[in-house]
Symmetry: C3
Subunit: 208 residues, 3 copies
C-alpha cells in the first residue's frame, strides 16, 4: 500500500476508535467494553469486508499495528477525556469524515484486487466505511445512525464511484485515490455544515 | 444451478428485499437505510452461510445480479409503496413462504456440495432461510421475530430434512428440490392460515 | 487436540448452551429460538474466530458433535428446567468460568497454529471466550453484559497471556494449558465471589 494511504488509514483508525470509546463511555462500560467498542468501530467494517471477500486472515491479523493503535487510543481516551462535548464538536466530525474517505478508497481498492465487479467494489468500499459504526450502534442498542440521517453513506458511494471511474479512465492509483477522497470529504462536509439530509422513506406503522 | 431454481431464487430475493425495505420505511430510514435493510434481509442468510463454509467470495460477489435486483426493488418500493398494509397481507406472506422454501433448498444444496454432514446441511439451509430476517430485526432493534413465533424456522428444518433424505434415497436433484420446497411451503402455509405456533419455553425472570 | 482439552471443550459447550437456553426462556422464545440462543452462545465465539482467521469450514461443521450436544442440551433444558433461579446460582457461574477458561486456551491455540502474532492470539482467545455471550445478549436486545461488568473478559486476557508466555518459555502444551486455565479460572472466581469489578469509564451524555 502507498505510504500516504497507509498513514491516512492509521489516522482514520484512531479517529474511529475514539468515536467508539466515547460511545462506550456514554454507556458507562468497563475498560474491556471501551476496548471492544473502539476496536469494532475502527476495524469492524474492514473485517466484514475481508471475511466476505475471503481475504483471510483479515487485515489486522496480518498487520497488528491496527490493534496496538486501537488499544493505545482507548487507553488515552479513558485517561484523558473528561468532557466528551469537546470531542463531539464539528472538528471531530471533520476528522471522522477524513477517516471515512480513506476507508472507502481502501475498501474499493482491496475489492478490485480480488477482481470483483466495479459495482460490488463500490459496495465493499461503502461497507468498509460505515459498517464499523453500525456494529458500534448495535452493541449500544441503537438503530444505526447511518441508516437514518445525513449524507454519510452517500458520500462513500459517490467517493467509491469516482475511484472506480478514475481507474477505468486509466488514472494512476494515487491521483485517483485523492480525487475519490476529496469527493467523499466534500460531500460529507456539506452534510456536516449544512445539516442537509436525504429525504426519509417513512411508512405508517401497519401494526396495531 | 438449475434454471428453475435460479429463477425461484431471484423471486425470493425480491420478496425478501421488499420485506426489508418495508421495515426500513416503518423506522423512517433514509434511502441508504432502505437499501441496507433490503440487502441484509435478502442476502444476509446466504452471506453468513458462505462465510462459515468458506465459500468465499460469497455468492452475490460472484454474481452481482442479486445486488442489482435488490437495488431496483428498494428503489421501486420507495417510489411506489404508500400503503404498506397491502404488502403485509396474506398474499405477501405466501410469497415470503415461497422464498423461504427456495432459500432453504439452495442452502442445503450448497452445504452438501462442500461435503458436510447432512445434519449440518439442514442447519445451513435453515440459516440461509431465516438469518436475513434475523439481522433485519436486529438492525431495527427488535428481538428477531423468528425466534418467538409461528411455524417459520421449523418449516425450513422440515424442508431441509426432506431434501437430504430424498437425495439419500437417490432421487434426482430437481424432484428432490420440488418435494422439499413443497414441504416447507405447506408447513409455512399452515402456520400463516391457522396461526398455529409452537409452544413457547417461558421462564420467569429471575432478575429482581 | 488433546483428549482432556476436548472433553473440557465439550463441557464448556454444554454450560454455555444452558446459559443461552435460559436467556431464550426468559424472553419466552419458541423451541427454535431456544436452539438458536443455545447454539449462538456455545459456538458463536469460535465461529467468528474461525471466519476471521480463514479457518473455514468452521470447527462445528468439521465436527458435528458440538451441534448434537447443543441440540440435546437445549431439549433437556426445555424439558427439565422450571426454576431458572437454581441455574443462576454461584455453582453455575463456576461452571461457566471453567468453560470460559477452556474456550480461551483453545482460541489462543488455534490462532497460534495459524502463525499469528502473540497479541493477536490472546485477542482471538478472548474473542472465543466472550463473543458467544455477546451475540446472545444482542439477540435478546441487551447491551452485552461482558462490556459492562465484572472481571470476565479480563480473566480471558490474563489466561491467554499466561498461555502464550508459557509456550514462549518452551513449556509443553498441556501444562501450559492447565496453567493458563487456572489463571482465568482463579481471576474469574475472584470476580464471582467478591463481586469485584473494574472501574467503569463513565461520560456524561452529551446529547440533549
Amino acid at each position: 500500500m502507498n505510504h500516504f494511504i497507509y498513514a491516512a488509514d492509521l489516522f482514520g483508525t484512531v479517529v474511529f476508535a475514539i468515536s467508539g470509546a466515547l460511545a462506550a463511555g456514554r454507556l458507562r462500560m468497563d475498560p474491556f467494553g471501551v476496548l471492544v467498542l473502539a476496536g469494532v468501530t475502527a476495524v469492524g467494517g474492514g473485517t466484514v469486508r475481508d471475511a466476505i471477500l475471503g481475504a483471510t486472515p483479515v487485515f489486522w491479523i496480518t498487520d497488528p499495528t491496527y490493534i496496538w493503535l486501537i488499544a493505545i487510543t482507548a487507553a488515552l481516551v479513558m485517561l484523558l477525556v473528561r468532557c466528551p462535548r469537546r470531542l463531539s464538536g464539528k472538528w471531530f466530525q471533520v476528522a471522522d469524515a477524513f477517516g471515512l474517505a480513506v476507508f472507502t478508497v481502501i475498501g474499493v481498492q482491496k475489492a478490485l484486487r480480488f477482481g470483483v465487479d466495479p459495482v460490488i467494489a463500490v459496495m465493499m468500499g461503502t461497507m468498509t466505511g460505515v459498517m464499523g459504526g453500525m456494529i458500534r450502534d448495535l452493541l449500544c442498542r441503537e438503530v444505526p445512525l447511518v441508516l437514518r440521517t445525513e449524507i454519510y453513506a452517500t458520500a462513500c458511494i459517490v467517493g467509491g464511484a469516482i475511484y472506480t471511474c478514475a481507474l477505468a479512465l486509466e488514472l494512476a492509483l494515487v491521483p485517483a485515490a485523492l480525487l475519490a477522497m476529496s469527493g467523499t470529504l466534500l460531500l460529507r462536509l456539506i452534510g456536516i455544515f449544512t445539516g442537509l439530509s436525504l429525504p426519509a422513506f417513512a411508512l405508517d406503522h401497519p401494526k396495531p
